[in-house]
């Protein structure tokens, strides 16, 4: 059974049609990549799943629930965690406070404690800096915080919007190792990337988005070998 099923989704900003009838799915435990160049509609897709944008038509079904009429906070409660484009940490809060904001919907205090320990274990750097203001962290550290904060929501589907953006290669590798580890722990992942090589190497299946339409889909390993993909996205 699909965990997330998007069917014929249309999204527009006024007269601009950003997403023009796309359909895709994420199975339980899978890592799925959505690749495409700048402006293809990747972020819009994630934002619509989270309820931050309104769908013009189509449906988004998560674990049997229709999401298109729900508010963002209700969608988080259903178990979708979203690491937004550009990190969006709470800059005038400490690292620890940011993580606690991630646990906003969790009532069980002992669970919050365990989860925060787990995040500190995954990102020792956040532990070292737990009292530092998030706005003063480096880009890589902010990305870790944004990811850690999303993990604190304990969602069963994690959506990542360009986690590699603006990071030094060594940090990108570190972040992607962590993403693989989170996936191995059983979390389903929907990954957005401009860096197609990275995304295809991290996912089992992928969709290629171009100006609001899905133009290709398949197993990531097949797409990695595809001539058209190589030419358009892998810079070969």
């Amino acid at each position: 059974m699909s965990m997330l099923e998007v069917k014929d989704l249309h999204v527009s900003y006024g007269a601009i049609n950003a997403v023009k009838g796309i359909s895709f799915e994420v199975q339980q435990g899978e890592t799925v990549a959505l690749i495409g160049s700048n402006g293809a509609g990747k972020s819009t897709t994630l934002r619509t799943i989270s309820g931050l944008e309104k769908a013009k038509s189509g449906s988004i079904i998560f674990q049997g629930q229709e999401l298109t009429k729900l508010k963002p906070y209700q969608i988080v409660e259903l178990g979708i965690a979203h690491v937004p484009e550009g990190r969006r940490v709470f800059s005038r809060m400490s690292v620890k406070e940011n993580l606690l904001m991630g646990a906003n919907i969790i009532k069980d205090r002992s669970k919050i404690k365990r989860d925060i320990e787990r995040v500190y274990e995954i990102f020792p750097r956040l532990h070292e800096r737990m009292n530092q203001q998030a706005g003063t962290l480096s880009g890589g550290e902010q990305q870790m915080l944004s990811l850690g904060r999303a993990l604190m929501t304990s969602g069963s589907l994690l959506m990542l919007d360009e986690p590699s953006m603006g990071l030094a290669p060594i940090l990108v590798e570190e972040i992607f190792n962590i993403i693989r580890r989170i996936s191995e722990d059983g979390t389903s992942i929907l990954l957005i990337e401009q860096n197609a090589f990275l995304a295809l190497n991290t996912s089992s299946r992928a969709y290629v988005l171009e100006t609001g339409n899905i133009i290709m889909q398949g197993k990531s390993s097949d797409l990695l070998a595809d001539e058209r993909i190589k030419e358009a996205y892998l810079g070969a």
Binding site: K71, P72, V76, R88, F90, M93, N104
Partner: protein
């Protein structure tokens, strides 16, 4: 010396009215990111509402004064009513514009302010005429170093300070406060944490409205006349207080309120026209010298 102290007492009295109003003004700005120019009208609604609510309690009044329990009920009803109206104003007028450019919300707020003044003015049972405010508190007068201070004034000053401290703690220490700060920094990110931002904003408006009612009751208790226009000048002065203290900053709002209140009373003592102008002079000076206000920090992502 005695007259200096006396002016200081009047300044603190007026300052506590500004401070209570500015607290709500600044919270709405800090958390929602809008200048609600209709905030002064919430004060008017609270004060005028209290006049009518007090009428309902007429049967328990003795010689125009009310038993303590009745006073408590009157104030509580006025606070809840004004807070409720503030929540309604936000939901009807401001929420649909939340993602539109700032200027649109500002213009709407000006329109809301006109509506809130002129709608009751047009109602036959309210109308434009000033009304005497009921005596809720019977003041006892004390003399300190030659200056006289009443129990009402003491209550007002303490109330403003305690309210400021309570709000400051609420925002800094509670879960609701953390949600408010998250909403103030980044509404989308706050939504992704599972925060119901509509609810947080409604609560903010409720607090602002309820405090505006308290401010209006305080004001009318020392200047006992209420009418539909009273919110405009006081709203402007509380805006100046909030900017002076650093708009968005809770402690700054109280500080700004007291500074402006004291400055106005002393300026009026020199010359009454100067008294009216001093608020605007302070506003201009602060915008030129320290635009972020006394407590304000210049932050890059400040809303």
């Amino acid at each position: 010396m005695a007259s200096f102290l006396q002016y200081l007492v009047y300044g603190l009295q007026l300052g506590s009215v500004y401070a209570l109003l500015a607290l709500g003004y600044t919270m709405v700005y800090g958390i929602v990111g809008m200048i609600n120019t209709a905030h002064g009208d919430f004060l008017m609604i609270g004060a005028l509402g209290t006049y009518f609510i007090a009428k309902l309690f007429d049967s328990v009044s003795i010689d125009g004064t009310y038993p303590m329990l009745a006073v408590g009920c009157i104030i509580l009803i006025a606070m809840v009513m004004t807070g409720g109206i503030a929540v309604g104003v936000e939901a009807i007028a401001y929420r649909p514009l939340r993602n539109k450019p700032r200027m649109i919300a500002l213009i709407t707020a000006v329109g809301v302010s006109m509506f809130l003044t002129n709608f009751p003015r047009a109602l036959p049972f309210i109308g434009p005429n000033p009304r005497p405010f009921p005596t809720l508190f019977t003041p006892k007068t004390f003399t300190v170093l030659g200056a006289s201070i009443t129990s009402t004034q003491i209550i007002m000053i303490i109330l403003a300070a305690v309210t400021m401290l309570a709000l400051d703690r609420l925002v800094a220490k509670t879960k609701m406060g953390a949600q408010m700060r998250a909403v103030s920094m980044d509404k989308d990110a706050a939504s992704l944490m599972g925060i119901n931002i509509d609810k947080v904003i409604s609560i903010t408006f409720f607090i602002g409205g309820a405090l505006a009612a308290v401010s209006g009751i305080c004001y009318a208790s020392v200047y006992p006349q209420v009418e539909v226009y009273m919110g405009s000048w006081l709203g402007n002065m509380s805006f100046v207080s909030a900017v002076l203290g650093g708009i968005g900053d809770i402690r700054g709002a109280m500080l700004g309120g007291f500074i402006l209140g004291i400055a106005q009373i002393f300026a009026t003592a020199i010359n009454s026209t100067f008294g009216y102008a001093v608020g605007f002079i302070i506003l201009i000076v602060i915008l030129l010298v320290k635009p972020a206000g006394i407590m304000g920090k210049v932050t890059i992502e400040k809303v």
